[in-house]
């Protein structure tokens, strides 16, 4: 009878276990407990502190490949803002963001009875990256002369109240790369002292935590976990909350694999005679 060798586990076994660990909690939710971390609480409190009727900006700088992490943040932020009667201006430095933002905002606008042009406006994409940010500091209508639907921005009622960042109570940047949160901090927050918050992919989040500590960001959502925490504070279960059970189970499984790998390695080293050469690795299975 063939023995199961822990030193040469076929990686497809691991893939299968990861698949089950993701699929099962999605089909049968477990509602594992989750704490709210300070950066997320700070973001929630910052939005709560904005007076009703104020204008906030949602700057979406992301693409479809990061939607699982970032779209729940957009939905939760828009829900939070609409619930507090805040008006929203959205912009984008990424060409593929505007339709994603539109997809998130349209159903929520219907749910809250908000009208395009008076309660929210989508200014769409503008090329230029950091240069566009500097232009917005001087004049947002001049930088975005037309909205996403090709309407002249000066003809939109909400935009008659917006000239530059002085008229924006808070900017929420949803970022998955460059240009993104770092550029918003460097070019906008540091120059115009805008109250800036950020939601980023988990991969991008660690370098931005010092910005929270220094006060340059008033809050930060890091990856699916940050989105789920924010959904919890806003009081609306969404895709992020639903995904957190799977995330926790997979993390536990990965930790188990890491521990198992190290235990097997130590056992193998202890069993090896002193001075013996390390046995050659088994050939890897494609891929």
């Amino acid at each position: 009878m063939a023995q199961f060798d822990l030193r040469n586990v076929d990686r497809r076994v691991i893939f299968t276990l990861i698949f089950v660990a993701v699929a099962w909690p999605l089909i049968q939710p477990m509602r594992l407990p989750m704490d709210v971390t300070p950066p997320v609480q700070q973001l929630y409190d910052s939005v709560e502190a904005v007076p009703p009727g104020s204008i906030v900006m949602l700057a979406g700088d992301y693409s479809p490949d990061t939607m699982p992490e970032l779209q729940p943040m957009v939905v939760a932020f828009v829900r939070h803002a609409f619930r507090r009667d805040l008006r929203i201006v959205t912009t984008s430095l990424w060409a593929d963001s505007p339709p994603l933002i539109e997809a998130a905002m349209t159903p929520l606008a219907e749910e809250f009875g908000k009208s395009y042009g008076t309660d929210f406006v989508n200014l769409g994409y503008m090329a230029g990256g950091t240069v566009t940010l500097l232009g917005m500091g001087a004049s947002i209508p001049n930088t975005f002369p037309q909205d996403y639907h090709q309407t002249p921005v000066r003809d939109i009622p909400l935009m008659r109240e917006v000239e530059n960042f002085d008229d924006i109570a808070l900017v929420m940047n949803i970022s998955s790369g460059t240009p993104g949160t770092r550029e918003w901090v460097q070019q906008v927050q540091s120059r115009y002292r805008v109250r800036l918050a950020s939601g980023t992919t988990a991969v991008a989040a660690p370098p931005f935590y010092p910005y929270v500590q220094s006060g340059q960001l008033v809050g930060l959502l890091g990856g699916l976990k940050g989105a789920a925490e924010y959904e919890g504070l806003v009081g609306a279960t969404g895709d992020a909350t639903r995904g957190m059970d799977a995330q926790s189970i997979v993390h536990a499984l990965i930790v188990f694999f890491i521990l198992l790998g190290n235990v097997v390695y130590l056992m193998e080293r202890r069993a090896r005679p002193t001075g013996a050469a390390r046995p050659a690795r088994a050939p890897e299975v494609s891929p």
Partner: protein, 226 residues
């Protein structure tokens, strides 16, 4: 039977175009994941489709979002609107970039590159100085060591020690021996913690993407999530 109907034809109220979209996306997702078993023609087909569609999508997106509104419309405006003649200069620089394909004229592309490098260096240098260097230095220097509870003070002290020890690790003008070597070793520990946190977040991000795809397959396509 209801499940089978939803799976094949979509949930009530779903248009055929959306159902087709779900099926195409699901088949392509499974084709890509089939690589985890082993390389196969289905995976290569999905990969080629992605590359081709992605290139075409970006070409169309950039043409309609950048070239048309930023160059063509300002140079050939509708009746009654002024012509922004100065937009011809970035247009010329854009043409220069394409001259890289012609060896005799490729030197002209350096003008465009020089413009881009110079402009971005200027903008980003001031931005980095204001947004990162000065602001982070200021925040570190003014970290309160007496405010808040015991844990808060301990974390602030750790942050300051971490900055100093890590800077010492990157100080290469003196050999890392004795006290300097000890502090540099502490700096390495802080760096390892930072790398570990970064790796942990990366794992979380990759798992999140898998969750996103699985949510699509199980909810939108298979209707197994409620």
């Amino acid at each position: 039977m209801t499940w089978l109907h939803d799976f094949v034809l979509g949930a009530p109220g779903t248009t055929p175009a959306v159902v087709w979209g779900y099926w195409v996306a699901a088949v392509l997702t499974l084709a890509v994941y089939s690589f985890l078993y082993k390389d196969n023609p289905l995976y290569r087909f999905a990969e080629s489709v992605f590359v081709g569609v992605g290139a075409a999508y970006w070409l169309a997106l950039l043409y309609h979002n950048t070239l048309v509104p930023k160059l063509f419309v300002p140079l050939f405006p509708p009746e009654g609107e002024p012509m922004l003649w100065y937009r011809i200069f970035p247009g010329i620089l854009a043409v220069f970039m394409l001259l890289r394909f012609f060896p005799k004229l490729s030197w002209l592309s350096r003008w465009s590159l020089g413009f881009i490098v110079g402009m971005y260096a200027g903008v980003n240098t001031t931005g980095f100085a204001q947004g990162d260097f000065v602001a982070q230095l200021h925040a570190t220097m003014t970290t309160p060591l007496t405010e808040g509870g015991g844990l808060s003070i301990a974390l602030n002290v750790a942050a300051i020690l971490g900055v100093i020890a890590t800077l010492v690790y990157f100080f290469f003008s003196k050999e890392h021996r004795g006290a300097l070597g000890g502090i540099a070793r502490v700096g390495i520990c802080f760096l390892m913690v930072a790398f570990g946190a970064s790796f942990g977040y990366t794992v979380m991000g990759r798992v999140s993407l898998l969750i996103g795809r699985m949510t699509f397959l199980l909810r939108d396509w298979l209707h197994l999530m409620h």
